[in-house]
């Protein structure tokens, strides 16, 4: 099985494969997010409690759930890279990190713009927001560590260890923050009540969650291709591409 995987881990093949997949995934992502967002903004019924402000949910929840997903996939890729020494996995992990950080940032900002009309302040130390903030720090740590090493093979290994340590810690941090905010916070309105959500709200939300996932995959492929080129600058096929690009 590893042989088969390895043949796809070959830099040139994976570069080309990613290039072939890219347009399809990009179209799918645009379509899903387009449909989900339009549905959410225009067609989903108004929330009886929060009015129109709840429409932020259609990007907040996808961003928040995908921020965690992206971290876990980064950690899995790092693990594969560390244990089986598959370079393609290292490159994939390095490509996901900045995307995850941006998605986490989006989750934070949308959470806080939603919080302002609901809670009356931009920031509350709500469990969800706090753990999202910590997740952003974890992402930034991985990115900064990866950037600090000159030799990117080492950089990937170091950042990979950190990502794995982080992923073990994420549930502990999440639990501690939940527990801490239940201690310190007077009961506020829950901003998402999934159980009571009607179908007309749930559908666009699910479409957008899926759309965000596909979008992350798409951008990962774009970055992955760049990463493959950057790490394989000594190989003839990359050099041929480079000469062609400059000649243009």
């Amino acid at each position: 099985m590893w042989k088969w995987l390895n043949s796809y881990a070959d830099p040139e093949r994976s570069y080309n494969l990613a290039g072939k997949l890219l347009p399809w995934l990009a179209c799918l992502a645009i379509a899903l997010i387009g449909v989900g967002t339009t549905w959410g903004l225009l067609f989903a019924p108004t929330d009886y409690q929060q009015g129109e402000s709840y429409r932020i949910i259609f990007i907040h929840v996808p961003a928040a759930s995908m921020s965690m997903m992206a971290y876990v996939s980064m950690a899995i890729a790092s693990f594969i890279g560390l244990v089986w020494q598959i370079k393609a996995a290292d490159w994939a992990a390095a490509s996901i990190a900045p995307i995850g950080a941006v998605i986490t940032f989006i989750a934070l900002v949308t959470g806080s713009t939603w919080g302002k009309p609901m809670w009356g302040t931009w920031w509350v130390w709500d469990a969800r927001l706090t753990s999202e903030l910590v997740l952003l720090f974890l992402y930034l740590g991985v990115i900064a560590l990866y950037a600090s090493f000159e030799d990117k093979v080492l950089a990937a290994r170091a950042a990979g260890i950190l990502a794995i340590v982080g992923v073990i810690n994420v549930p502990i941090i999440k639990y501690s923050v939940d527990w801490w905010s239940s201690l310190h916070q007077p009961a506020t309105i829950k901003i998402t009540e999934k159980s009571s959500m009607p179908m007309e709200m749930l559908m666009p939300l699910l479409i957008n969650i899926f759309g965000f996932g596909v979008m992350i995959a798409t951008i990962t492929l774009v970055r992955y291709r760049t990463e493959v080129l950057a790490r394989n600058g000594m190989r003839p096929w990359v050099r041929a591409l480079a000469t062609k690009e400059v000649a243009k």
Binding site: Q85, E150, D151, K152, V153, A230, R231, G233, M234
Partner: protein
């Protein structure tokens, strides 16, 4: 090599590739090092001599390829390999806050030796009388010899020495060379880099692996 065909292969390098910061230092480098070999890695600065030594020692991971010790991948038998490996790098591994004796003591105990006589070992590297001197106060040569003292009390078969003769005087170099020959004759191997020519070890006893500076 032809003459030692019977002797066993201690270290086998299998298609080693080393890439540092997107520059290929060497690729698909394969060789065998047999018991009884004294091998000098030579080449200009930046050719990857130290990188090769560190890869063989298992300190660095090659970009591709693997190193075998007694037909086993060293990443699979790290403890056994480390048990039989004596590596001395650019950095001596001598703490300046500790005395020469304490340094030797620590270096030997961490490799598992016990019940040894530090002062007699130190006397072999001409450090008698300096046992209680802090390594930080010793001269460069004495500092280096504190590290080299380990070579006189070891049962490791594979010696990997990166520039062992730095800061060592002529007589010291000769003694070291004699020690290498003795070690090789007793079934060990020495892999080293050096810029100095060796006087005692003859061309016939010495094997060379050459690394060239590569532009691509």
């Amino acid at each position: 090599m032809a003459e030692n065909q019977k002797s066993e292969v201690l270290v086998h390098a299998n298609e080693l590739t080393c890439i540092r910061e997107e520059r290929i230092l060497f690729d698909e480098l394969s060789f065998d090092i047999n018991a009884g070999d004294i091998v000098q890695i030579e080449g200009p600065n930046g050719a990857g001599k130290t990188s090769l030594l560190r890869i063989i020692a298992g300190l660095s991971r090659p970009y591709a390829g693997e190193v075998h010790y007694l037909n086993q991948n060293i990443t699979r038998c790290r403890d056994e390999f480390n048990h039989d490996l004596l590596y001395l790098g650019h950095l001596a591994g001598v703490k300046s806050e500790l005395t020469a004796e304490e340094n030797l003591n620590f270096n030997l105990s961490i490799s598992g030796y016990h019940d040894f006589d530090t002062s007699s070992i130190l006397s072999k590297v001409n450090l008698s009388g300096f046992e209680d001197a802090l390594a930080g106060h010793l001269s460069a040569g004495q500092h280096r010899r504190t590290a080299l003292a380990r070579l006189w009390h070891t049962n490791c078969r594979v010696w990997i020495l990166d520039e062992p003769f730095t800061a060592i005087d002529k007589k010291g170099v000769e003694e070291l060379e004699k020690l290498f020959i003795r070690h090789a004759e007793s079934g060990g191997c020495v892999i080293l880099t050096t810029h100095q020519d060796m006087g005692v070890v003859t061309e016939k006893q010495l094997r060379k692996i050459r690394l060239d500076y590569r532009f691509v």
